[in-house]
């Protein structure tokens, strides 16, 4: 194991610990959010996003981080996103967090893990065909929200964080 792999393992252990502590890896929590009954996973995810967003962009000012995001390919982002969502609604676990579900004893996650390995293999099999026919439809390149609307990124961050905090307030008021 090289150093990079050890860092990966440590980072994963920390993240898995926090995921389990917040009880977000469970089917009932994941599906609860999709049924608008329990917004725990949205609270967790959005909290991680706003903290990470402020931190990453702050350190980016000093050139201490390297941004690494994916290009916009509308056809793939939308179709793939929808497909993922449909599968997620059946499984009730996410690729990253279902290992955590297994870790706390929810062994039906094993079926999901197996299914995902098969799904990845299937994608590899069909990749040459997809390459020829559909991949790249609606390509708009590496685009950020501030670039898209033409404003300073800190303005977007302030609006985003304010919006998320307002949403949190609303969740708490509604007891979600």
């Amino acid at each position: 194991m090289n150093a990079e792999m050890i860092y990966g393992l440590i980072t994963g252990i920390l993240f898995g610990f926090l995921l389990q502590k917040a009880r977000v890896v469970r089917y009932d929590k994941q599906i609860g959010a999709l049924r608008f009954q329990d917004m725990t996973i949205v609270k967790f995810m959005m909290s991680a996003i706003i903290v990470g967003m402020v931190g990453i962009h702050f350190f980016d000012i000093f050139g201490l981080v390297k941004l690494l995001y994916k290009p916009v390919v509308l056809g793939e982002n939308i179709t793939g996103g929808l497909l993922f969502g449909l599968g997620w609604g059946l499984l009730g676990y996410c690729p990253g967090t279902q290992g955590g579900a297994l870790g706390e004893g929810r062994w039906d996650a094993l079926w999901g893990i197996l299914g995902m390995i098969v799904g990845a293999g299937l994608y590899a099999e069909t990749y040459p065909l997809l390459m020829k026919k559909v991949l790249g439809v609606g390509y708009y390149g590496y685009l950020t929200i501030p670039q898209l609307i033409g404003v300073n990124r800190w303005l977007v961050i302030i609006v985003f964080v304010t919006g998320v905090l307002a949403m949190f307030r609303w969740f708490e008021k509604k007891g979600l």
Binding site: G8, T11, G12, F15, G16, F17, Q20, R23, V24, V25, D28, I31, L34, I41, K43, F44, S47, A48, I50, V51, G52, M53, I56, F59, Y69, K70, L74, N77, I78, G80, G81, L82, F84, G85, L86, G87, W88, L91, Y93, C94, P95, G96, T97, L102, G103, E104, W107, W111, G112, M116, G119, A120, L122, Y123, A124, Y127, L130, I145, L148, F160
Partner: protein, 176 residues
């Protein structure tokens, strides 16, 4: 019916989520790695397929792009399992369960039915994640943190797909 509380040693999702945001910042500062998970399933599929059909794997373009080997992310995903296991054991919230409560309320406690649906969900979700080029970790957390348009689009459609599927699955409420 009496509402029974399974465990109450959990942390606030705001706190645990915010701490996860800090873990992401440290990870990016230290090793340059943003969170992601679905590529690991491609590498795992490649590694398993290699045992059965090494020539086929060597030919497939997708496995050349994502070599079947352990890397930062695969260790990260494995770490999530360990971290969750540690947290669950320390807090006594580990529970061996093959059918989630919400699922059982609607479809009964047959683990085979749950297993089949979970497996199919996993296949669809991973195929979609690879087509979208990311999952709720890669597009959701990492993409949104960087204000990437691709992350925002994918995230919206993850939830749209998920909401549609749970509407279908839980049509008419929890009871059979």
């Amino acid at each position: 019916m009496e509402q029974k509380k399974v465990d109450d040693g959990g942390w606030s999702p705001y706190i645990a989520g915010g701490l996860s945001g800090l873990v992401i910042i440290v990870s990016v500062l230290w090793t340059g790695q943003f969170f992601g998970a679905s590529t690991s399933f491609v590498r795992s599929a490649g590694m398993l397929e290699k045992i059965l059909e090494p020539e086929r794997v060597a030919q497939l373009e997708y496995f050349i792009r994502y070599l079947p080997k352990f890397d930062w992310q695969l260790m990260f995903v494995s770490g999530i399992f360990l971290g969750s296991l540690i947290a669950a054991l320390l807090s006594g919230s580990f529970k061996w369960q093959g059918v989630p409560d919400m699922w059982a309320e609607r479809f009964g406690t047959n683990p085979a039915l749950r297993g089949i649906v979970a497996f199919i969900g996993g296949v669809i979700a991973m195929y979609g994640a690879r087509l979208a080029d990311g999952c709720p970790s890669g597009h959701g957390l990492s993409g949104m943190i960087q204000l990437a348009v691709s992350g925002l689009i994918a995230m919206v459609f993850f939830f749209v797909g998920g909401i549609i599927m749970t509407r279908l699955v839980y049509f008419g409420g929890n009871r059979k």
